[in-house]
């Protein structure tokens, strides 16, 4: 574990945090701003903001996991958004319409969401292997039909007629993920955490993980070593899409209890997930940290607006500068140099 903390990549994060501490000492009045940022990210009554950060972290980690799984194997699947949205939509539909006991509803919804995400990812894969459209472009373009489809579904055939909003009916209440008492955080964090752990174990200790990792290092090497590349390709995509779909399930069965149009796209979860993985240089050990970093930034700047009256745009500008600085001083990533095939 020591190499993780001596990693070159953590230096800029450390410098950034140090600057956050030094900044208020040097610039009068800014102490309040920084304090309100940290209070916004971790404080509040009963540590409410910490739970909000963790809740956002759950979804971000899920999306980062989806990105990590594919990038690690050298597959540039950036269609996480579409896979997330379809996963969430399908989970909600099962949650609303399946006449079954709560536990069964939850399990079926989870499996259906994972399947939906996996299928959408595999579609991008079929496009690449069938016609040669690069995965990067195919998966990106598939995001749009997915979110328009979901938007249509909740605006018309499956909308909550009574509320009039663009959302599905509420899912079977007892099937939802339990919450930590009195907080916004639900047990989805365990599910995503377990999935992340399972992936780490899969990646470290199984033949599948070994092959997908080495394929990520070099596709040519994987071919010449006789790895079952076709299978590996589709399995990896499936796994990646399923992780995104699972995240959709967690978002729907967790805090919102239904699918609301835009709930998964406007917060830019998928893009932040990609940023987290790239910032971690596609290293599994660092991804949980970078994902947390982004969750903290988002919650902190909203909290800053609430308590210190600093417009969130200011927070956004700071966030952008941090991202740019990290990118500029943390070096180019090298791990996804392998081809896409």
């Amino acid at each position: 574990m020591t190499h993780l903390f001596t990693s070159r990549r953590l230096v800029p994060i450390g410098v950034g945090l140090l600057a956050l501490v030094l900044f208020p000492l040097l610039v009068p009045g800014s102490g309040e701003i920084v304090a309100s940022f940290f209070n916004g990210a971790f404080g509040g009554r009963n540590f409410f903001n910490l739970y909000a950060t963790l809740s956002r972290y759950t979804i971000l980690l899920g999306m980062a996991l989806a990105v990590l799984i594919s990038f690690r194997a050298g597959l540039l699947n950036i269609g996480g958004e579409g896979q997330l949205v379809l996963g969430g939509l399908v989970a909600a539909l099962v949650g609303v319409y399946l006449p079954a006991p709560p536990l069964a509803v939850a399990v079926v919804a989870l499996l259906a969401a994972m399947t939906a995400g996996a299928c959408w990812a595999v579609l991008a894969g079929l496009l690449e292997r069938g016609t040669g459209v690069p995965l990067l472009i195919g998966s990106l373009l598939l995001n749009y039909p997915a979110s328009f489809l979901a938007s249509y579904a909740v605006s018309h055939p499956f909308r909550d007629v009574a509320s009039g909003a663009t959302q599905t009916f509420r899912i079977l209440r007892e099937a939802g993920l339990p919450r930590f008492q009195g907080t916004i955080l639900d047990y989805g964090i365990f599910l995503i955490g377990a999935a992340a752990l399972a992936y780490v174990i899969l990646e470290r200790f199984t033949v599948f993980g070994y092959r997908s990792r080495l394929r990520g290092y070099s596709a040519g090497f994987a071919r010449a070593s006789g790895f079952p590349n076709r299978r590996l390709y589709y399995r990896t995509l499936m796994l990646s899409g399923a992780a995104a779909g699972m995240t959709g399930f967690v978002a729907v069965f967790g805090s919102s209890q239904r699918f609301v149009d835009g709930m998964l796209t406007t917060p830019l979860y998928a893009w932040t997930g990609i940023a987290a993985v790239l910032l971690a240089a596609v290293r599994p050990g660092l991804v949980p940290l970078t994902a947390f970093f982004f969750a903290m930034l988002a919650t902190g700047s909203i909290g800053m607006e609430r308590t210190a009256g600093i417009p969130r745009e200011f927070g956004q500008v700071i966030q952008a500068l941090i991202v740019l600085t990290l990118a500029g001083f943390a070096g180019k990533l090298t791990a996804i140099s392998g081809g896409t095939r």
């Binding site: 033949v207 070994y210 290092y217 070099s218 040519g220 010449a224 070593s225």
Partner: protein
């Protein structure tokens, strides 16, 4: 043209130059002159610092201490531009070309003349280039896209660049590694003509014979230092090899281990290629147990596609492949590996190895699913590590640990990892491509020894190499591949550089292939 300078006068020199890359001392206190109109050679093992020395002269590498002198006065080259303006030209070890630009565009980049917004002077350049092409008999299509050219043609584009800008000091970093003997001859012909016209030539090469034959003065480098200077007519191969390595090297002796039990039998193997011309054209031959079958040819003539088809990386469009009596034509890579076929790719960094993987991960590849390394899909990490450590020991791989990324190893040690993995799998048939590219004399001897031992133990080996010396040292028979077809097959006792060279060029005379 600069005014003629009397011979013996230094056109440029390195003075007490040192340069380190991290812990590696690439150059330590190196000084030498390049004289007007001379043909100088620079030799040394891998990593001796030859390319770095050139880089300093060419403004690509900043020396830590010391400086460059041009015409007797110290100069600081801020970039290659300054070196080019001083009349220097360089053909780099790895081609510096733009694959999707045309030949004329490749030549013009950086030498257009005029400001950045001026029009590209295509017309003037074309006239001049046609002249050069005619004078030196280059046979190049100026409008061809470089990606479509053969290696030899790419080499000529590099030289065309130098001629186009009238370079007076010409550096060539291992220019002949990929040329046929005939192409080498014409290259040296041309270099000598340039020399006669007043240019100075500096050649880096691992091929000692060609160095002795062409250069006038030879500098030997070892571990970043200049260790010897010899006049070409006063030295020989053995002395130079000794100077390079610092000790005498024994080339392993070829033993004839071939039996009459056929392992590999290929009939009419064909692989389609672009523009209807097959890349592999009805190739047939047999390889017996213990036999090393060499394949000679200018790279780009289908040897890569042939090996890929044998390994299952490429789908043949016709013909059959029998391995130990069983047809394997349509089998996958995995099935072939399981049956006992091994493969050492010439593309070490991306096909032979996963550079970011550890030694342990690399030495397991291809057998990760076998009972030795996994059980029901779970890796046996302990067994993998033990295996890697055993190989590090037996194959003398210099590394601090089995967990080191192979990308961090030196080139020779990287190749040893590949050899170790493939040999330890105890293959019945091994496909080998240019196993010693970029590998120094010592490591080369080790690798050759291992291949010979493997053959002795009964393995059949197909050896593709662009180095005729290597083929001659190892092969029982050598087939020459030209435009996808294997014409003559030379038995060991009929091996002859010029006959093979002629076959490599398509049987005709020099340069015919590219007409």
């Amino acid at each position: 043209m600069p005014t003629p300078v009397p011979a013996d006068r230094a056109v440029c020199s390195l003075r007490n130059v040192s340069r380190s890359f991290g812990p590696v001392k690439a150059l330590s206190d190196v000084s030498f002159d390049i004289r007007q109109g001379e043909f100088l050679a620079l030799i040394g093992e891998n990593g001796a610092g030859k390319s770095t020395a050139m880089g300093v002269l060419f403004g690509l590498v900043d020396p830590d201490t010391g400086h460059v002198e041009v015409g007797g006065t110290p100069r600081r080259f801020a970039s290659a531009r300054d070196a080019i303006d001083a009349g220097f030209g360089m053909v780099h070890q790895h081609f510096k070309l733009y694959p999707e630009l045309t030949v004329i565009e490749n030549v013009l980049v950086g030498n257009e003349g005029g400001g950045p917004l001026a029009r590209i002077p295509f017309r003037a350049a074309e006239a001049r280039l046609r002249d050069i092409i005619k004078t030196y008999d280059f046979r190049l299509d100026l409008q061809a896209t470089v990606a479509d050219l053969s290696v030899g043609e790419k080499q000529r584009v590099e030289i065309l660049k130098l001629l186009f800008r009238d370079a007076q000091v010409i550096f060539l970093d291992e220019p002949t590694a990929v040329l046929t003997p005939q192409e080498c001859l014409s290259l040296f012909d041309m270099l000598r003509r340039l020399q006669k016209e007043g240019a100075s030539i500096v050649l880096i090469s691992h091929k000692l014979d060609e160095v002795i034959a062409n250069a006038e003065r030879i500098l030997v480098m070892r571990r970043g230092a200049l260790v010897a200077e010899r006049a070409a007519e006063a030295t020989d191969r053995a002395e130079l090899a000794g100077l390079m390595v610092g000790a005498q090297i024994e080339a392993p002796a070829k033993v004839n281990a071939a039996t009459d039990r056929t392992v590999l039998s290929i009939r009419d193997l064909t692989v389609a290629g672009p523009s209807g011309k097959p890349r592999v054209d009805a190739v047939s031959f047999d390889v017996a147990e213990g036999e090393i079958f060499g394949i000679a040819g200018v790279s780009g003539n289908g040897q890569k596609a042939l090996v890929d088809a044998l390994m299952g990386l490429e789908t043949p469009t016709g013909g059959t492949v029998l391995f130990r009596g069983e047809e394997i034509t349509g089998k996958s890579v995995a099935e072939r590996r399981a049956a006992g076929i091994g493969y050492m790719s010439e593309d070490r960094m991306s096909v032979g190895l996963a550079a970011q993987g550890s030694i342990t991960e690399n030495t397991t590849a291809g057998r990760e699913h076998s009972a030795a390394f996994s059980r029901r899909g779970w890796l046996r990490k302990r067994a993998m590590t033990r295996h890697a450590e055993r190989l590090i020991e037996t194959f003398d791989i210099r590394t601090p640990s089995a967990q080191l990324h192979v990308g961090k190893l030196s080139g020779g040690n990287q190749q040893k990892v590949v050899v170790a993995r493939e040999v330890s799998a105890q293959p019945r048939l091994l496909l080998v491509e240019n196993p010693c590219w970029g590998v120094d004399v010592g490591a080369m001897a080790t690798i050759h020894g291992q291949l010979l031992d493997l053959a002795k133990s009964g393995c059949a080996i197909v050896l593709v190499s662009s180095d005729l010396e290597e083929l001659f040292a190892l092969s029982d028979r050598v087939g020459v591949i030209y435009e996808g077809a294997i014409g003559r097959i030379f038995p060991r006792d009929a091996l002859d550089t010029f006959a093979i060279g002629a076959a490599m060029a398509g049987g005709g005379h020099i340069g015919d292939k590219h007409a």
